[in-house]
Subunit: 254 residues, 2 copies
């Protein structure tokens, strides 16, 4: 399968610590060696780094790990391919423009009988079940909301409903963001943690790395990290229930 990583924060925050843990699972402590990607929002814009190389050896992953890009909304993914071969166009996250906003998505799981998803507006570039499902979700949103609504919360709740329909076809854990909101939908495996004052130390499971967030933050910072499996072993992560979704904005559930 794959692993997901997301972040929602109230101040631009780098994700180097969490990303360092995730990268190890891409061919070292985990089997997810079929590519990786990460999308950072900065204002209305976003940028994606991706590679079909294993994340634990990728030169570009090394840069992202070492260079602290600060963002309030991040979506990342490491892939262990099942549907669709290992290549750049099958590498998550996927981004499409809707109403002049960049919408970014990553999926963990596997669908069956997904051939009846026939999006008209958005078409997949690669041949994964994941990208097809993303195009279908965007198509359905676009049909229901031809113009951008002023309040985006109902749009994300609708997206969570669509995800539920997809869960009838298989395992469908999803992260979805417009740069302001980050939606986490759990099919069978998704965890999250909110870090805020008083900050403490965190120790990665997958790499020999401890960070003292007291030294890295201000007392007003609120940062939520979402991951398939907890990334640290000395903190308490919320385990999401099957079928549950949580919508985050500026680091907190809304």
């Amino acid at each position: 399968m794959c692993e997901l990583l997301g972040m929602s924060a109230n101040v631009p925050t780098d994700i180097c610590f969490s990303f360092s843990g995730l990268l190890e699972r891409g061919g070292n402590t985990g089997p997810h060696k079929d590519g990786w990607g990460i999308t950072f929002y900065e204002g209305k814009g976003c940028r994606t780094f991706k590679d079909s190389e294993p994340s634990c050896t990728s030169e570009i992953a090394k840069l992202v790990k070492a260079y602290p890009i600060k963002s309030c909304s991040v979506i990342s993914h490491i892939r262990q391919g099942n549907r669709g071969r290992v290549c750049l166009e099958n590498t998550h996250p996927f981004t499409r423009e809707l109403w002049g906003r960049e919408i970014t998505y990553a999926h963990n799981g596997q669908l069956s009988n997904y051939q009846d998803l026939k999006p008209e507006f958005y078409k997949p570039v690669g041949n994964t079940d994941s990208e097809l499902a993303f195009c279908w979700i965007l198509d359905e949103i676009r049909k229901k909301y031809p113009k951008k609504p002023s309040d985006m919360k109902p749009v994300f709740r609708f997206a969570a409903k669509l995800a539920k329909q997809l869960q009838a076809k298989g395992v469908f854990n999803m992260l979805l963001s417009d740069g302001i909101y980050v939606l986490a939908v759990c099919s069978n495996n998704l965890h999250w943690i909110t870090r805020k004052a008083p900050f403490g130390e965190a120790r990665l499971i997958d790499a020999d790395l401890i960070v003292d967030f007291k030294k890295e933050t201000t007392p007003d910072d609120i940062v939520t990290v979402i991951a398939t499996r907890p990334l640290t072993d000395n903190e308490s992560w919320h385990k999401m229930e099957a079928g549950e979704f949580v919508l985050f904005k500026l680091g907190v559930p809304v």
Copy 2:
């Protein structure tokens, strides 16, 4: 204004040499310090590196310069902003999906009275004249070709016609690619050069760098580089005429 750089090749080729020259113009030998970007196609997929930092000091640009990503179709751009502030969403190249293909675009120039361009299908994320023009071009292509035609040449010729309409609104030099074709449209300033056997040495204008392409290539390689201004001073570049366009595939005009 800005500067454009494009490449079309018959074998995956890195663009490190040309990109090294272009980067210097982003705040060092040239004034184009308002961000930069580069898109590499690999198969049907593509990846973009971009930054609103000046290219001559950007950490990410350093990576791209040092890490030889090989591609048959590349579009790059360094920005000196006129319309739209300096930020990530205003940074070229821009990419949108059409018929399940990634279409990438960069523009050099400046338009007036462009507010009457009202694309319905694709909407700009940022507020540049350039991205609005791109959305309009894609909208017009989509209206004329609701499905992907088997031959893409007429589509690019149609895009060149649309570019000509935009030239009535100001300066509009453009690079446009679907990963297989690279279209170069000249409004007032665009040059290209095709390198093939027998290969020789090339000397950058903007950096103290000479490359001997004999050592870097095989006899069958054909590589065309397109740039706003010639990047080397010991080779003969084709200067394009105002209003002219050239469509490249696998390194050669078609």
